[in-house]
Amino acid sequence: MIRSPAARSPAPDWAMVDRDLPPAIAAQPGLWQPLPGWARRHGDDAGPSSEAAFAAGAALLALDQIVRAEPPWLGALRQRQALAAAAVSSRLMRLPADEAALRDAHHLTRAGDDPGPSGRLHRAWRGLAARPARAEAAAGLAQALGLGASAGAELGPGLASGGPVARAAASAARAAAAVGPAQALEGEIFGLMLADLVLSETLGWPVPVPLLATTILGPALTGRPQRPRPRPGDPGWAAACQAAYADAAGLAHQRALALARRAARLCALAGTLRSKGGAAGLRALLADDAIAARALAELGGLGSERAARRFLERLVALGAARELTGRPLFRLYGL
């Protein structure tokens, strides 16, 4: 068994790291337990809707407790979910981009340049995961997908009834239907985004966590060859959404626990680092999926790009952060 670093060393000296990071949460990876087996959805089918609804409720509750506690690494969770959602939507649009390519496109596009078709999708998802969960955000998302700002104008959670997942599913179907057949795929992705937006607003989360898109095309729902993928507005759409949310919230919870463990390790080591501006570097690592040395240097605090890279390499050498690309140049670092 791996002992958590927090148990080995005394509690990290938070005054040295940052006063803004709540120490109790980041330093206690045992605060949240993994989902019990009974809360998982079984079988490779959408299954009976009562079972899916039960699993979705249980998994969303577990995730809700994490989101409400607002641990400092919540930004990393949101952006990892956004990346996964962007990879799925790229596949839906038949754009040849995996998560690594999307990450590269985001970090290597200079200001004012075009990140390319899949990069624009990724940008839209990152926008969803970074802006407050309010109905007004829908117009911005529609514009980011090239649908025109007014597509999301009249869509709000107030228009649907039922539980949070049912409302999210209904909003997705309505949003996709508001887009013409010429842009059906963009409309479908817009629907997936809006479902997460409406779910977050209903649950009272300040900023959405992308969920539905990460699993709606998963093998559990579209595994069989003859089976068409669930589309917003289909007869089985609400049931598919329930199953997808059960899977997605469960996976996001699992990812959150892994991030909590790594964040605790990073914060425990933070006390031993004496880099100037290290607190800003830690905060940046905890707030995003990945960060490049150049971007970290531009944030200020750590000095030059070289100093930022040395700081990040030091964290990697100590096992507190990971290098995500595996290449010698243009390295990206994250939890």
């Binding site: 290597l108 075009d114 010429a182």
Partner: protein, 222 residues
């Protein structure tokens, strides 16, 4: 010009019979598209006719009416636009009545080939393009495509020297009469052949791509 109405959309006399109302909507939508120099997005049209009107059926009716005309209502670059049919391209070119700015830019064979390859493989660097054509793609070719606003700068490649990649622009879709990048001819066949995958060996099998490039329909004049 009509005074700005308080209503966000226009309901041409709700007391009119259904048929007349539908005709009024059709006229209004087609007039807006006709008057616009750029493609009109669906949302602009939806705001124009209001939520009661089934816009897709309306556009299908307009297209049906234009079936005998030498122009059509086409979905290009994310919006609806009047376009002359490809069969009349020669006549329009011979007459020379379209001004230089309004005309689709005249591209050489190489430029056509390069911009098409960028569209399929984007984001792609100049070195990758040169490898694909087994011949240097000159900076001048790319510079001219950039000046015509058909391609733009994309993300940098994570390789030595951080070479710039190129992506196609909105204007590319408009000039080539494509609704979106998924409307590129035979894109699914090329994908299934694995020719568009990132890092795929594009150089050994250029024949399949050539077939597609040859099969590309002529540009339509706006």
């Amino acid at each position: 010009m009509a005074p700005p109405s308080r209503q966000p959309w226009f309901d041409p006399a709700p007391e009119l019979p259904r048929e007349a109302r539908w005709r009024a909507w059709m006229g209004r939508v087609e007039a807006v598209i006709f008057a616009s120099p750029t493609p009109v997005p669906r949302e602009t049209l939806a705001a124009l006719v209001g939520p009661e009107c089934r816009l897709d059926a309306l556009i299908a009716d307009i297209q049906d009416e234009l079936r005998a005309r030498p122009y059509e209502l086409a979905f290009v670059a994310g919006g609806w636009h009047h376009r002359t049919r490809p069969a009349y391209a020669d006549a329009i070119r011979a007459a020379g009545s379209v001004s230089q700015e309004a005309r689709a830019p005249a591209l050489t064979a190489t430029e056509n080939l390069v911009v098409t390859a960028i569209a399929y493989l984007q984001p792609v660097t100049r070195a990758e393009l040169s490898r694909l054509f087994a011949k240097e793609v000159s900076r001048d070719t790319i510079a001219r495509l950039k000046r015509l606003d058909l391609v733009g700068a994309g993300p940098r490649m994570p390789a030595l020297g951080a070479p710039l990649t190129y992506v196609t622009t909105h204007r590319f879709l408009s000039v080539f009469g494509l609704g979106s990048l998924r409307d590129l001819p035979d894109i699914e066949a090329l994908e299934d052949a694995g020719l568009l995958a990132r890092g795929a060996p594009v150089a050994p099998q250029p024949d399949a791509l050539d077939d597609v490039l040859g099969a590309r329909p002529d540009d339509t004049d706006p």
